[in-house]
């Protein structure tokens, strides 16, 4: 049964879509975690849901509505570039209202409830060829921008004072980070759903941070962990008919736990210190 499924076209599409989404989510996650903006991911994703629900009501492609919702919120959050507690409460307020509006839209929507369920919990096996192509295009854009802006992105997220003095435009990079995050989130929603975006955007990056202290290695590890979780989750869901999103979140959480244990088990002096490479 497993090998039969593995030969199916829709499974190939799902695995490819999962890989594309894992790469962008794992990559942008590192910058989001460094900025301490995990909560923003949740807000962007839930307002993506509001956008999608709104699109369903007016009869537009929900993916388009979701992208618009995420991007608008990402842009606003980036522009405000708030820090710490102020940001948390502002995001909380916006998120709650956005979700309320989303609930209204859903009640207005007369179509199938499955569409809403898919948005909330993901529907990786339902990815079409054209959807896969769009995922790949958006992912390529995100990855190229990350590569070109890599150093200022790192500088502005780890050391804003130093970066500003060197002429790094902090606000521009804040907006850029949150816009890239919005795009990655809109991608991840299509695989794991609105409610589980954090499992691909935050968990892998948080685990990677525990395993290395080299910024480039953390980026690659985060992508790797997201890939293992997504592909592993899809394969497991072929074997056992539980939701794919459950398996993905279970694998990424297991890796996160292992990373924490490995980190704690290391002796104090060598903990997190990398071997000499120069």
């Amino acid at each position: 049964m497993f090998s039969q499924l593995l030969a199916q076209h829709f499974v190939h599409t799902a695995l490819l879509a999962g890989a594309v989404v894992a790469v962008v989510s794992g990559a942008i996650g590192v910058f989001v975690v460094t900025r301490g903006a995990s909560f923003a991911v949740h807000a962007i994703s839930e307002l993506g849901f509001t956008g999608a629900a709104g699109a369903l009501v007016i009869g537009v492609d929900p993916v388009l509505g979701m992208m618009s919702g995420s991007i608008v919120v990402g842009f606003v959050l980036g522009l405000l570039s708030l820090r710490g507690r102020e940001r948390d409460s502002a995001i909380g307020a916006v998120l709650a209202f956005g979700l309320g509006v989303g609930v209204l839209f859903l009640s207005l929507y007369q179509g199938y409830a499955t569409e809403a369920t898919n948005l909330l919990f993901g529907s990786i096996v339902g990815v079409s060829d054209s959807q896969l192509r769009n995922l790949a295009i958006v992912a390529s854009i995100v990855m190229v921008v990350i590569a070109l802006a890599y150093r200022p992105l790192v500088f502005s997220s780890v050391d804003p004072e130093g970066a500003e003095a060197r002429g790094v435009p902090l606000r521009t990079l804040s907006v850029l980070t949150f816009l890239l995050l919005a795009l990655a989130t809109a991608e991840a929603i299509q695989v794991v759903g609105v409610l589980l975006v954090l499992t691909l955007v935050i968990t892998p990056a948080a685990a990677a941070q525990r395993l290395t202290n080299r910024p480039e290695a953390a980026l690659l590890l985060s992508i790797g962990i997201a890939l293992v979780s997504t592909e592993g989750g899809i394969l497991l869901s072929l074997e056992k008919p539980w939701p794919t999103s459950f398996f993905i979140s279970a694998i990424s959480f297991a890796i996160y736990l292992i990373a924490r244990i490995v980190d704690v088990a290391r002796p104090r002096s060598t903990r997190m210190s990398a071997p000499q490479t120069v």
Partner: protein
């Protein structure tokens, strides 16, 4: 004589509030200028003007003969100590590297030249032994050494420091001050040092720029840190005392007054 910094008739206003007018001074190679004064008198704003991050309301600034913005790549900046996240995936050497090319766009590899420059800066501040340690697990003083290394790594022609000693213990205050002092003695890199406490750096200071609300004075510490000068700056009777080689200011009218005598008996001018 060509100056590294030349400030002419600078004025800064925020809305109705006038911070200073007609501020003029020059900075020669190897000079260490301390910028003193109570909060809200534009000490940090002056540094931001020298970095080209904000524009003055009037007047002109030249750094290395060009506009601050054009010279920015040759300015090293040491900010206040701010503790890094414990879990940050960043080594000491990575923080220093950011001072070299962290502001550049595009993809680039770490060349041998750059590696050597980073190594030199780490050695210069005595941080070579923890170059590969994660920055979030280092002490505040160690982190501040690395910020100095970050400021030095691009071979700056001017150093700006904004309260770099804040929340450091005495031994690290001496180390950080010593590093900046040594740099300007060996390489002639002038230093603008913003501080609210002159005492830790008093022996190394050439001149003091004292910013009081709406007024300013510049000169050697012996010229500026006197009862006469500060009394006329504040337009009220201010006493400047020298106690065991330390400067003690008594009677400034701003609300900073209570902070002047600290629990250690340290006095903040």
């Amino acid at each position: 004589m060509s100056y590294v910094v030349s400030v002419r008739e600078l004025a800064l206003r925020f809305g109705e509030r006038r911070l200073w007018d007609d501020l003029s001074f020059e900075l020669a190679a190897g000079e260490l200028l301390a910028v003193l004064g109570p909060n809200g008198t534009g000490k940090t704003s002056l540094l931001r003007i020298l970095l080209g991050l904000i524009e003055p309301s009037a007047g002109s600034v030249e750094v290395l003969g060009r506009s601050p913005r054009q010279s920015r790549a040759r300015i090293g900046y040491v900010p206040q100590q701010r503790i890094f996240d414990r879990d940050l995936a960043l080594r000491a050497r990575d923080l220093v590297r950011l001072g070299l090319d962290g502001h550049r766009w595009g993809v680039s590899l770490l060349t041998r030249d750059k590696r050597e420059q980073i190594e030199r800066a780490l050695t210069e501040v005595g941080a070579a032994e923890y170059a590969d340690a994660p920055i979030g697990r280092l002490s505040g003083g160690e982190q501040q050494r690395l910020r100095v290394a970050q400021a030095l790594v691009a071979e700056p022609a001017l150093l700006l420091a904004d309260e770099p000693l804040l929340s450091l213990d005495l031994s690290y205050q001496r180390i950080i001050t010593g590093l900046l002092d040594e740099r300007r003695r060996r390489f002639g890199t002038p230093v603008v040092f913003v501080t609210h406490d002159i005492n830790p750096i008093l022996p190394t200071v050439d001149r003091v720029l004292y910013l009081a609300p709406g007024r300013w004075a510049i000169g050697t510490p012996d010229e500026v840190l006197t009862s006469e000068t500060l009394s006329s700056l504040y337009e009220t009777e201010v006493d400047v005392l020298r106690v065991r080689g330390r400067v003690v200011v008594v009677g400034t009218p701003d609300d900073q007054d209570v902070h002047h005598v600290h629990e250690h008996g340290q006095v903040h001018a």
